[in-house]
């Protein structure tokens, strides 16, 4: 009744704050337990305070050093004092490991220098040179100096098989140390292959189902949803059974006098299993778009004399493209993040970037490297999502 502008505005403000309040609990939980920890993880790729914390006196002694000539003499007593303190505090191994990521091989030298338990008052160049000649090498101290800054691009560069060279420019790491670009390349090729193969399998089925009479279309849809609704772990387990040496696939091949193929722990086995898991993701968006393309258009094109293939290419395909794009994008993005299936079905040569991330956290205990690999993987995922996300109408995710 009191529809004055003031009441209108406060009504709108009320609706607005009510709407925000309704969404706040979920967004708040996500901010605390999802976005903040992931941002923290990503920050770890460029922030590593282990050395700065472990070598405070050394950092101070090196602070003014230009890096030319020998390291300042004050470094040696400071370093001896820091090592003693780290040994006392029990942080020596963490410190040695952190230094080792920047200067491969230094770990054991740091530990043995700490074991030597040099009295800081008596520590000098000669005393350290007696332990290992690298302690008088300026290159060692330049690396230590660089490590004493908690901010570093080292891990991000390493994730792309790059490093800062002796002259300060960015260069490729030697071929025998380059591992990550190969893993990224493998991850991308695998995702692309899965996307392409599922498209080849799914497109004709979606086309057929979209033209089929209703009961048949419903049956096809149900048979696609059946595996879609089945646990991904269960489907991976099924393929492990099927692909074994004595598994069903090899038994069938044997009937034709073929095989046996070693499909478990092979790239082709992994590809087959991933195709099986992703096929419904590619299919459903294509089908939901094709279902709404009127078939009369094709009939009209035929009656105007267009050959079937031309009519299909000119009339049908352009209208089906949004579905194709959505299905392919969804499968490609999800395939980039696979972890379980490569871990169980793939061999050591099939490990993808997610496996590397888990390995750096569980086995190598190098969170910073895991973080750097996560930055690259997440960046690719979200660039794709931002660039083509408009194709992913909520409806294409609805079926999952």
């Amino acid at each position: 009744m009191t529809d004055t502008p003031v009441a209108g505005r406060s009504g709108r403000d009320g609706a607005r704050s009510r709407a925000v309040l309704l969404a706040a609990p979920l967004l708040g939980l996500m901010a605390l337990a999802f976005f903040a920890p992931i941002l923290w993880l990503l920050a770890m790729s460029v922030y590593d305070p282990t050395v700065a914390r472990g070598l405070p006196a050394t950092a101070e002694a090196l602070a003014g050093w230009s890096g030319d000539g020998n390291a300042p003499a004050a470094v040696y007593p400071a370093f001896a004092a820091d090592l003693g303190a780290a040994r006392e505090a029990g942080t020596l191994l963490d410190l040695a490991r952190a230094l080792n990521t920047r200067l491969p091989g230094i770990r054991s030298r740091v530990v043995s220098a700490a074991r030597a338990n040099i009295d800081p008052a008596a520590a000098d160049e000669a005393r350290f040179a007696a332990l290992h000649k690298s302690w008088v090498d300026p290159a060692t101290w330049r690396a230590v100096q660089a490590s004493t800054s908690p901010w570093t691009g080292f891990h991000l560069l390493a994730a792309l098989d790059l490093r800062v060279g002796a002259d300060g420019s960015i260069e490729r790491v030697p071929a025998e140390q380059a591992i990550f670009l190969k893993v990224f390349q493998r991850t991308f090729l695998l995702a692309a292959a899965v996307t392409l193969l599922t498209l080849i399998l799914a497109f004709p089925v979606a086309y057929f189902a979209a033209q089929a009479p209703r009961p048949l279309a419903t049956l096809i849809l149900a048979l696609v949803l059946l595996p879609f609704w089945t646990s991904m772990l269960v489907r991976t387990a099924s393929w492990m059974v099927l692909l074994q040496k004595e598994g069903a696939v090899n038994q069938i091949l044997a009937l034709f006098g073929l095989g046996p193929l070693s499909l478990m722990y092979s790239t082709s086995g992994l590809l087959i299993a991933m195709m099986h898991i992703q096929l419904p993701f590619t299919f459903l968006p294509i089908y939901s778009v094709m279902k709404n393309i009127p078939t009369q258009q094709l009939k009209a094109a035929y009656s105007l004399g267009a050959p079937p293939l031309t009519a299909f290419r000119r009339i049908y395909l352009p209208q089906a493209m949004p579905g194709v794009a959505a299905g392919c994008l969804l499968t490609f993005i999800l395939s980039l993040g696979y972890y379980i299936t490569p871990a169980l079905i793939g061999g050591p040569q099939d490990q993808v970037i997610s496996n590397s991330v888990a390995n750096y956290i569980n086995a190598e205990l190098n969170w910073h490297m895991a973080a750097a690999l996560s930055v690259v993987l997440l960046a690719f995922t979200f660039v794709l999502y931002a660039a083509f996300g408009r194709y992913l109408a909520p409806s294409s995710l609805k079926a999952k």
Partner: protein, 278 residues
């Protein structure tokens, strides 16, 4: 005449080829998931095809052995907790996002959906960092919160979809009749969007019940879930007991999702019909 027959022949050939391809692809999709079902009833210790004897011994093993039973209980507790939280928070968020007044709606929606496309290992590491910070490692609560975030997007999507057909005038009418907002929601809106809520809840439950990687990062031996127990078993050795556990998991998700899907389809028109005539 001849030309017409030619066209119909090639059209029939096309349809035949398409039908054949469809049958092959559907076989590829469905046959592999039936394999563990068949093998789980096998009496032999090894996977021999075809199975020699029908037996329930592997189900007895799964349900009888303490570590399997404990993992099923853990999965049910976590799944139930995560489903309740995800359903309540997700439905509320969907209602909020449905209001045109919501600021930065598209961004908020994209943020809520982001766990779906974030690589699961990164989500798991993030969950680990969070749980370690608030001392929820190896607790039900830690895993429930992580699975809530994973399941809520599905609730938001299904509830949003059921809200598209909802006539907002119904709520105004209820309020004019003197119903307090919560009462109006419970008596007018909820019955109409219930299929969407339930189908979102089913997806949230199945997502939690299928999740391995976060569970691997967050739990120790005492809170191991069923999928994690299976994953560990699969890494060691394939056994028919795993097939029995797999069949159990499959059945649970198929029944849950199938029932809610049928429910959703049946009641989809009800929402569209329930409107105040102009």
């Amino acid at each position: 005449m001849a030309d017409g027959m030619h066209v119909s022949f090639s059209a029939r050939l096309r349809t035949g080829l398409l039908a054949g391809w469809t049958v092959l692809v559907l076989l590829f999709l469905v046959v592999p998931i039936l394999i563990p079902v068949v093998l789980s009833f096998n009496s032999e210790r090894f996977f021999l095809f075809p199975p020699s004897d029908f037996s329930l011994r592997w189900y007895q093993e799964v349900l009888g052995e303490e570590r399997w039973r404990a993992s099923i209980v853990n999965s049910l507790v976590v799944g139930f907790g995560a489903t309740c939280l995800a359903t309540v928070l997700g439905t509320m968020a969907a209602l909020g996002l449905d209001a045109p007044a919501f600021p930065a709606r598209r961004l908020a929606r994209a943020l809520i959906m982001s766990p779906v496309i974030t690589p699961i290992v990164i989500t798991a590491v993030g969950s680990y960092l969070f749980a370690a910070q608030v001392e929820l490692i190896n607790t039900y609560a830690g895993l429930i919160l992580a699975h809530t975030i994973l399941g809520a997007p599905f609730v938001v999507v299904t509830v949003s979809a059921s809200l598209t057909g909802f006539d907002a005038n119904l709520m105004r009418a209820a309020s004019m009749c003197g119903a307090p907002p919560l009462h109006a929601f419970r008596r007018v809106m909820l019955p109409l969007i219930l299929p969407g809520v339930l189908s979102g809840a089913a997806f949230a439950f199945v997502t939690s019940f299928d999740e391995v990687v976060i569970a691997q990062f967050l739990t120790g031996a005492t809170h191991r879930t069923l999928p994690l127990q299976m994953f560990t078993g699969l890494r060691e050795q394939l056994s028919p007991a795993l097939a029995a556990a797999a069949t159990f998991m499959m059945l649970l998700s198929l029944v849950l999702l199938g029932v809610t899907e049928i429910l959703r389809r049946r009641t989809a028109q009800r929402v569209a019909r329930a409107r105040i005539p102009a």
